[in-house]
Symmetry: C2
């Protein structure tokens, strides 16, 4: 309509909308040139009234923007889907597109039941994830006692602020892993070996490294002007940590340009929980 | 082939595989009758060698299972896609299916660049998520000082073990919200009002409740036989907490059959970060 016009993107679901959003963001990431898009997350569309309201919102966006909205949908109820398809929008419809081929292949009918997380809260795997979160919190930053590491699925090691804590939490929340983490400190470097309790769990260790520049920047935000945050000290600690990990055969990964999602996927591969057939 | 034969499902990606897995699980959840499926996550397929290895794994699964594997793919490289499509499998191909219509609609070409999380680690929104995780950890279980709550996006309240901590962490990791949480304790119930520091942030509060039976079960696992874990005490605390929240106009949600994903989506709606157009 005019140069300020912005297109609207809807993520619509009868559940949480997490799948619709993940799907939509992955696809839209392929179009960095598309310009700014206004985003509307619309979860829990589980009644005809809400479907009606949703249709109206799509119609309003169409009128205001002057361009068709894009709708990413994981709706399963055929009536709701039909109601929305009356509107002038591009529908990227996960279930409509793929349920048919899957039904043919699997030879069983789909349930058409809404909500991927339907009472998942009572399932065994959900409870295991909650337990993993509790374990991970209790074993953050070396707070644990040695013997407890028996229960750990993985123990992240690295210098302070190398990304251990957020990665541990992501592993627990997303994959239900009991992920302890343990900081490597100057004392360890002087001794030139891992602390005793880590040494006995050496096969569970996974190291995170980071560039000295990035580490100094992160530490400066916490303790500006300190020796701890100085580039020189960061260089020294990272170098000593890498040598220690190499000496003890601890696999490690650089977190400088790597998100917690990517680090976690690498760790899952390392644990052979990913890539059953492609394990090295 | 025989009754013990199991079908294999692949989640294949040139990135972390998280989108492929989310997509696949949502779709497969529609087929509860499909029986057990062997799952193989195959992230980081970003070279022709890896594509070759991947093709071989699909071929082997086909031979062993006696039924075609199902492949959920978010591969973007056309050569890799072409290589895999030579195998005998059902391909549920997110990008192949949807990139075309999006390209037409948006009027710009897709980048075909692999990896949704490509150096996301350096982006502003990623750093905000990391900050939110740090904030949330520092403000878990009322550890914070009052004034700090100024920075909170949301403050979860509820009795001990009602699900505040895992929900806070999910909100931080998934949505970058600074989510403090604060336990309601018997002292608060006797006083019949919120502690002072919460009262002044009343508009940020969101309550979690839970059934007394479930709460007693969770607490028994931690402190078996205690008054704290007794059904009678759980009933009393939950009743008092609900009355307190109603009196202070704190919105609340029952977490008994609700996953942290669902609770979080409700909270996002409450904060109007979800459902821009459907806010009540």
């Amino acid at each position: 309509m005019n140069s300020a016009a912005q297109r609207t993107v809807f993520f619509i679901s009868d559940g949480t909308g997490i799948t619709a959003e993940t799907l939509g963001h992955s696809l839209l990431a392929q179009f960095p040139e598309a310009g700014k898009l206004r985003q509307a997350w619309v979860p829990f569309i589980d009644s005809q009234d809400k479907a009606e309201e949703c249709a109206r919102a799509i119609r309003e966006a169409r009128g205001r923007d002057g361009v068709r909205p894009i709708v990413f949908s994981t709706l399963v109820d055929p009536q709701t889907v039909a109601r929305l398809h009356g509107e002038d929008a591009l529908f990227i419809d996960l279930f409509e597109q793929f349920i048919g081929p899957l039904e043919t292949e699997l030879g069983v009918a789909p349930s058409h039941e809404a909500g991927r997380f339907h009472d998942i809260a009572s399932s065994r795997s959900y409870k295991a994830r909650m337990e993993a979160i509790n374990y991970t919190l209790a074993h953050d930053d070396g707070l644990s006692n040695g013997p407890d590491l028996n229960e750990a699925d993985i123990v992240l090691v690295g210098v302070s602020r190398s990304g251990k804590t957020p990665t541990s939490l992501y592993l627990a929340i997303q994959f239900g892993l009991k992920a302890a983490n343990y900081p490597l400190i100057p004392e360890d470097f002087e001794r030139k070996r891992l602390p005793g309790e880590l040494h006995q769990h050496r096969r569970k260790l996974f190291g995170l490294t980071i560039s000295p520049e990035r580490l100094a920047q992160i530490r400066q935000e916490r303790l500006p002007g300190s020796h701890y945050a100085s580039l020189e000290n960061c260089r020294h600690e990272i170098d000593a940590a890498r040598k220690l990990m190499d000496r003890e055969n601890v696999p490690h990964l650089d977190s400088t340009h790597t998100s917690i999602e990517e680090i976690s996927a690498h760790i899952m591969q390392h644990l052979r929980r990913y890539a059953l057939y492609l394990a090295p």
